[in-house]
């Protein structure tokens, strides 16, 4: 019995030992085979990924002149554990900072996401070249400091800020949704920088090193098998004419509004001015956040790209669309004449200014007769063949949309607005079904009412007229380095619903508006340039919030159009007064590269229309 108990104990002790060993082996199995997170952590420990940041692609204008270039700046990085006490005052003065700023930077660094005292983290961003030169010489004295070159944008001529957009650091949501980006990377935030981000950014390279526990580099990982070389971003050639752009921005100084100029034959945007504009240099470098805040809080909204985001009533310029639809529908002929004695008197009525009467179609455009277009519009929507105002109106809407209205044109820039062409449903909801007719919506005849379009859509319309019936989607990139062609959607013709043959009557009217004899009723004679046949149309777009906007669109030369342009000047009154001379100067600048009318130029340059806005408030 005694013997038995002791042998049992031998087995019990052996059993306990075996059991404990099994527990350890199971745990080993778990951490070595089942749970892969330790392998990840091990790589995290030992592998240091050093990103090689590529330079962003350059941007040139259509003539190959530099619009956006790069400048090298330096980020100062630290590894907190390796930093030894240093002369804060010397360090600060080298970088042009105060000691408090340096101390603050050290405090801020710990708040960074993913901060570790054993890894390099950015202490100071984008120090200037001159500071870097000083720092470089004494860097050996500062343990745990390193300097990493980055490139930031510079602008040889501080223009086209809206168009170019800007570059900034990626935020949390970008990092989450787009795996390419990591903390500290730059990304295009607006304009072309955003639209062509993938082309411009290039490809980051990475060098993988192995480091020891003190973060000392021990060698390259697997002999660099997984390293990759950074590839510089592709250069873009922009469709913009830099001189024209700069000139447009100068003309628009102290005015609110927009200029969009397009080459009709290609849809290439030659100039895109939104005023007030801003110096793109403000959104580069360490003060970017502050400057951005300043621009954002400015009441004139300088960051807002009016060219593609502002919605204005098209005003009288829209008469050409109604004229074209009327001709196409056969409800008016070039010879049709309507009398006008101060306005259209049916229904609520629409007033008109003094001009000769009656007028045919071309002259109605030249003189911008409101009455004429009330007739034309009602003929279109009340056409017996449709049977109802709803169907008549729908047909009109479809045709209007074929001119690029009511939908985004698809320009290669972010945030393009689509404008408004009201629908049958809209009026049914607004007035109730059956509660409206052609008289209720008569404002549409002269481009007022529920219509709204961006300056780009206006320029596109005049480009369609210049082409006698079709347009190319406006775009701002002419070519991309290393790519044989741009997106094919930019070389595809978009025909309007109106036959090409009808356009000549319209163009005739636009020609008369600018070039008729004195006293001939032309509304835009101020835009005429000797030896350049400009065809244009004025507009005064009623603005419910203040003084009317001055509108003008035109193309030139008449027989071989090279430029189509739309100009909006907010709260500036008659189109002829401000918008027409600006468009005219732009056309002359583009076609001739010199200005023959210095008085007109001065008149525009010196005009300050900002106070009109203030008065009206």
């Amino acid at each position: 019995m005694q013997l038995n108990i002791t042998t049992d104990k031998k087995y019990i002790i052996s059993g306990i030992i075996v059991l404990v060993f099994i527990v350890i082996v199971v745990k080993l199995f778990y951490i070595q085979v089942v749970d892969s997170s330790y392998k990840f952590s091990a790589n995290n420990n030992v592998l240091r990924y050093i990103t090689q940041y590529p330079a962003r692609g350059l941007i040139y204008d259509r003539h190959g002149e530099m619009m956006v270039a790069n400048q090298v700046v330096y980020d100062v990085l630290i590894i907190k554990n390796q930093v030894k006490p240093f002369d804060t005052l010397e360090f600060a003065s080298m970088l042009g900072l105060t000691t408090d700023q340096v101390k603050d930077a050290f405090l801020q660094v710990k708040k960074q996401k993913g901060y570790s005292p054993r890894k390099s983290v950015v202490l100071l961003k984008q120090i200037a070249d001159s500071s870097y030169a000083k720092l470089q010489e004494v860097l050996y004295k500062y343990h745990g400091f390193e300097v990493q070159p980055r490139t930031v944008r510079i602008y040889p001529r501080a223009v086209a800020g809206h168009l170019l957009g800007y570059v900034g650091e990626v935020d949390e949501s970008v990092i989450k949704n787009r795996p390419y980006y990591q903390l500290g990377d730059y990304i295009g935030i607006n304009g072309m920088e955003k639209q062509y981000e993938v082309e411009l950014r290039g490809v980051k390279g990475v060098s993988i090193f192995m480091v020891d526990v003190h973060n000392r580099i021990k060698g390259s990982y697997e002999d660099g098998r997984y390293d990759s070389v950074a590839r510089t971003g592709k250069a873009l050639t922009c469709t913009i004419d830099l001189d024209l752009q700069e000139y447009g921005e100068r003309l628009m100084v102290n005015k609110i509004g927009s200029i969009v100029a397009i080459e009709p034959k290609t849809g290439e945007v030659l100039a895109m001015v939104s005023s007030p504009t801003y110096d793109p240099t403000l959104l580069v470098g360490r003060d970017r956040a502050n400057n951005f805040k300043m621009l954002q809080t400015d009441s004139l909204k300088p960051i807002f790209n009016r060219s593609i985001m502002a919605l204005y009533p098209p005003g009288s310029t829209f008469k050409v669309v109604n004229a074209l639809i009327g001709l196409e529908e056969g409800v008016v002929t070039p010879q049709t004449r309507y009398a006008c004695y101060g306005g259209y008197t049916v229904g609520r009525g629409v007033g008109c200014h003094h001009h000769a009467s009656p007028l045919d179609l071309s002259h109605s455009i030249a003189s911008s007769c409101n009455t004429y277009y009330c007739h034309v519009f009602r003929n279109i929507v009340d056409n017996k063949k449709f049977g109802s105002i709803e169907d008549g109106f729908s047909n009109w809407k479809t045709q209007v949309e074929s001119f690029g209205y009511g939908h985004a044109l698809g320009i290669d820039l972010p945030n393009e607005r689509k404008g408004i062409v009201p629908s049958v449903n809209f009026y049914n909801r607004y007035f109730r079904k059956g509660g409206w007719n052609s008289l209720t919506i008569i404002s549409l005849s002269i481009g007022q009412g529920e219509l709204a379009a961006t300056p780009l859509q206006m320029a596109n319309l005049v480009s369609t007229i210049a082409n006698r019936g079709y347009y190319f989607t406006p775009h701002v990139v002419k070519s991309i380095e290393g790519q044989p062609a741009i997106d094919p959607k930019f070389t595809e013709r978009h025909p309007s619903s109106v036959d090409a043959s009808w356009y000549d009557y319209i163009i005739e009217g636009m020609d008369l508006a600018v070039n008729c004899a004195p006293g001939g009723g032309g509304t835009a004679r101020i835009a005429a340039i000797p030896d350049i046949r400009i065809c244009g149309k004025t507009g005064t777009s009623q603005n419910p919030h203040g003084a009317d906007h001055s509108v003008f669109f035109a193309f030139a030369p008449k027989d071989d159009p090279k430029i189509a342009i739309a100009v909006y000047v907010e709260n500036a009154g008659f189109g002829a007064t401000w918008a027409a001379p600006i468009a005219s100067l732009m056309i002359e600048k583009y076609l001739r590269d010199s200005i023959t009318r210095p008085d007109l130029e001065n008149y525009i340059l010196q005009a300050n229309l900002l106070n009109r806005r203030a008065k009206k408030k």
Binding site: L28, I31, V33, A42
Partner: protein
């Protein structure tokens, strides 16, 4: 000549082979752990692997010396050796050198010695000497006191040296006591107390009390089958608790919530105890006492943990139990150790291929955390092979101990098993994160002369007894 060949024939060559294998594997892993491009000659004596070579040579010399000695020597001088080591431990306490916050080194010239390492085999010898004689029975109070003193004396001095890890090793002698007559329930009860201690740290005192009550009730019913009585009793106690709650609500007396549990349990213990005593119903007062003791133990465990244990022990235990996570602070060693081992995968990264090892991410990697190198470079397979060798060694040593005809040799043999088992399990357990970090070496593997020699002496004295077992 006759004598020499008898020694060779009777030696347990399997154990010796495993010993040599482990020592060499250990050396290889130390080489990997401290390897660097600048120092790669294996005979570079400025490096730890070079020094370890010397320690190994000495260890082999020690082993051979022991084999050539007489095993009688150890029986005769057991107490003397024990006394000598105690004196050495005491002098360390006075003259010792402080390393890693513990005063456990004696510096002799450029050579440091850790007496605590040698105290283990000396204590095993003393225990064997005490318990070995045929007449000794582990059933009287004096016998327990004597055994307790032999274990507690060295352990206590080592504790005073602030070397908690080495002191805890002496707890492993419980296996000897168990083998030599200690009732099994004490082992179970000790296991229960340790588990309860851990549970107390993790769960609230209320849930621990409920758990203990249910456990006691369950065991009681299992033993007596009186489930109806137990149920009625429970209902009565719940009733007391509810009554207290109602009264406190009614008269708006604010009482800590735990009192609604403590009071009924205390009342239950009292009632069951008195009832059991009066009616001579043994299970009732036995289990009432058990419940009372464990509740008081669990309530005091928290206090002991917070007030008696050092902060770094608290932190290590909290880290282990997942109560507190601090991978860059207290948990750094274990976290890095798990990363190194875990990254080894199934087959490991190969000799000198361990990045965590090579670039020193795990602290103490050639000493206490040597198993990380095994795990990282040799993977799950290599780790299992090493653990398998250790397990085989332990089971073999149990067999050797059991085949001794003398009580002294058998008891000493179990001492060897206890010490090795504790070291292996606690050391590997800490590197994989199932034991708190206790700085004790992995036998035969870890860098260091003292520990290697002490383990060699420990093992080879047993082998000497084994080879002499037919001789006397």
């Amino acid at each position: 000549m006759q004598r020499r060949s008898k020694i060779v024939d009777n030696l347990d060559w399997t154990t010796i082979f495993i010993y040599i294998l482990l020592v060499l594997m250990g050396w290889m892993n130390i080489y990997a752990a401290v390897y660097s491009e600048e120092h790669n000659s294996i005979l570079d004596f400025s490096q730890r692997y070079g020094k370890q070579m010397v320690w190994i040579a000495f260890a082999f010399a020690i082993a051979i010396t022991i084999m050539l000695s007489s095993s009688r020597l150890y029986v005769v001088f057991a107490y003397f050796i024990f006394g000598l080591v105690l004196a050495l431990l005491l002098s360390t306490l006075v003259f010792g050198k402080v390393v890693n916050a513990s005063k456990s080194w004696i510096q002799i010239g450029s050579f440091g010695l850790q007496p605590a390492e040698f105290a283990k085999f000396a204590t095993a010898l003393a225990l064997a000497k005490l318990m070995g004689p045929y007449g000794f029975k582990l059933n009287t109070f004096t016998s327990y006191v004597k055994v307790g003193l032999i274990i507690a004396l060295p352990a206590g001095i080592i504790l005073l040296q602030n070397d908690t890890g080495s002191a805890l090793v002496f707890g492993s002698f419980i296996f000897i006591l168990y083998r030599e007559g200690l009732p099994g329930w004490i082992l179970v009860f000790l296991f229960f107390l340790v588990s309860l201690f851990i549970l107390t740290l993790i769960f609230s005192s209320i849930s621990i009390m409920v758990f203990l009550y249910v456990l006691t009730l369950f065991v009681f019913i299992l033993q007596t089958r009186k489930y109806k009585d137990a149920l009625r009793f429970t209902v009565a106690l719940v009733g007391i608790g509810l009554l207290m709650y109602l009264v406190s609500e009614l008269f708006d007396i604010s009482i800590p919530r735990s009192y609604f549990f403590i009071f009924p349990v205390a009342a239950g213990v009292l009632i069951a105890g008195i009832y059991g005593f009066v009616s001579r119903f043994r299970p009732a007062y036995l289990w009432a006492a058990f419940l009372g003791v464990s509740v008081m133990y669990s309530l005091s465990a928290d206090y002991v943990f917070q007030n008696v244990l050092d902060v770094h022990h608290q932190k290590r235990i909290n880290d282990l139990l997942g109560i507190e996570s601090d991978p860059l602070g207290w948990g750094y060693n274990v976290n890095q150790s798990k990363i190194a081992i875990g990254s080894g995968g199934i087959v490991g990264k190969g000799f000198l291929g361990g990045t965590q090892t090579k670039y020193n991410f795990v602290p103490e990697q050639s000493t206490d955390f040597i198993f990380c190198t095994v795990g990282e470079e040799w993977g799950f397979l290599g780790s299992t092979v090493v653990l398998g060798l250790f397990l085989y060694l332990l089971l073999r040593l149990i067999r050797i101990a059991e085949r001794q005809r003398e009580g002294f040799a058998r008891i000493y043999g179990y001492g060897v098993v206890s010490i090795l088992f504790f070291h292996i399990v606690v050391n590997v357990g800490m590197t994989v994160g199932i034991f708190p970090v206790i700085g004790i070496p992995l036998p035969f593997f870890s860098y260091g002369g003292s520990s290697l020699w002490a383990f060699t002496i420990l093992l080879f004295i047993l082998l000497k007894f084994d080879s002499d077992r037919f001789g006397h």
